[in-house]
Symmetry: C2
Subunit: 201 residues, 2 copies
């Protein structure tokens, strides 16, 4: 609960990144729409007026947290496209790289994935997210066109299912848990490329 | 907007299942926590008092909609375990069956998957959901133990990634779209078992 000693100009020792991190935890636990600035202030032990010394609005937090996730994902896409001309290798790098980003920023990506598009700001963020998705679909289509992938599975569906598999990591991954990001980033491309059944050879 | 003609005993022609369906659309679009009974009444064109002739609470809708999804998923699990003694075949039936259920009830399953566990009712629903997950993990572990699956990919992670892939269908699947549930139910087991890369044979 906020106390009178934290009101006014008093700023308990929060670095900006801690405010963002804790706010995103609240959004993910209670729902972005259902979380008020008052509830955030309470969670942070700040008065309703003191929280405005740290952040101007819920939207500011949303933009900053999802912006960080989008930046990292965009860097993976750009890196994969630059690293190789082979679409299968690009796809492998894309799958491994996005897996790593999701393991490193599960809360921010979770917030990104759960946006509902109820405001212009959310719609703009979702448009950037779609840019990442389109890049993956494009790589899958090129790999399929050059004959490296099975053609009985439609590229658009395959791309969505790949993303769905990777995205689901944010629902359960614990950065302090038994798997390092690199462990999962080794598993996901293998599973997508050759499946889970032991080969008959 | 509710008008005075819909107040009191007046019940515009809503079947119970329509009320549930429209309410779940609202929950999915705005967030369960952020949707009030007043907002639901407005969406249905009912007065705030008239909506209580249809439903007693938001929770009643939540329980009924997720209960339907859980029933269908439980039937898939039970059916798969009865249909075969081979864990790989059970897994194939489980993946195909849950894919079909998700295509048939995307909105109800989406609501089920996005529960946050903020109330006892939600926690009870999530416990039933975990029962389904445990059944899948168990089948994957048995298939791995009998040597049918690769052992370099850990069973718990594999099961979560499979579920993640399938669950993601509710984020984009349109029942009126180009894919029938059976189309997707044919793709998902293939993709999980043997992957997307064209075999070298």
């Amino acid at each position: 609960m906020p106390s009178s000693t934290t009101a006014g100009r008093g700023r308990p020792g929060y670095a900006r990144e801690d405010v963002i991190r804790i706010a995103v935890e609240e959004f993910n636990a209670r729902g972005y729409e259902a979380t008020s600035m008052g509830a955030l202030a309470e969670r942070l032990g700040l008065s309703k007026s003191a929280i405005y010394h740290h952040i101007a609005s819920k939207e500011e937090i949303l933009v900053e947290a999802t912006g960080k996730a989008l930046e990292e994902l965009r860097a993976v896409v750009d890196g994969a496209l630059e690293a190789s001309d082979d679409p299968v290798e690009q796809l492998r790098l894309l799958i491994a790289g996005t897996t790593r980003v999701l393991c490193e920023y599960p809360a921010y990506v979770r917030l990104l994935l759960r946006l509902r598009g109820n405001t212009d700001v959310e719609l703009a963020i979702m448009e950037r997210r779609r840019g990442i998705t389109r890049a993956l679909v494009d790589v899958v289509e090129r790999a399929q066109a050059e004959g490296s992938l099975r053609t009985d599975l439609e590229a658009g569906v395959v791309a969505r299912l790949i993303f769905g598999m990777i995205n689901s990591i944010v629902e359960w991954y614990k950065p302090e848990g038994q798997y390092a990001p690199a462990d999962l980033a080794a598993i996901t491309p293998e599973m997508v490329f050759t499946g889970i059944v032991r080969s008959r050879s």
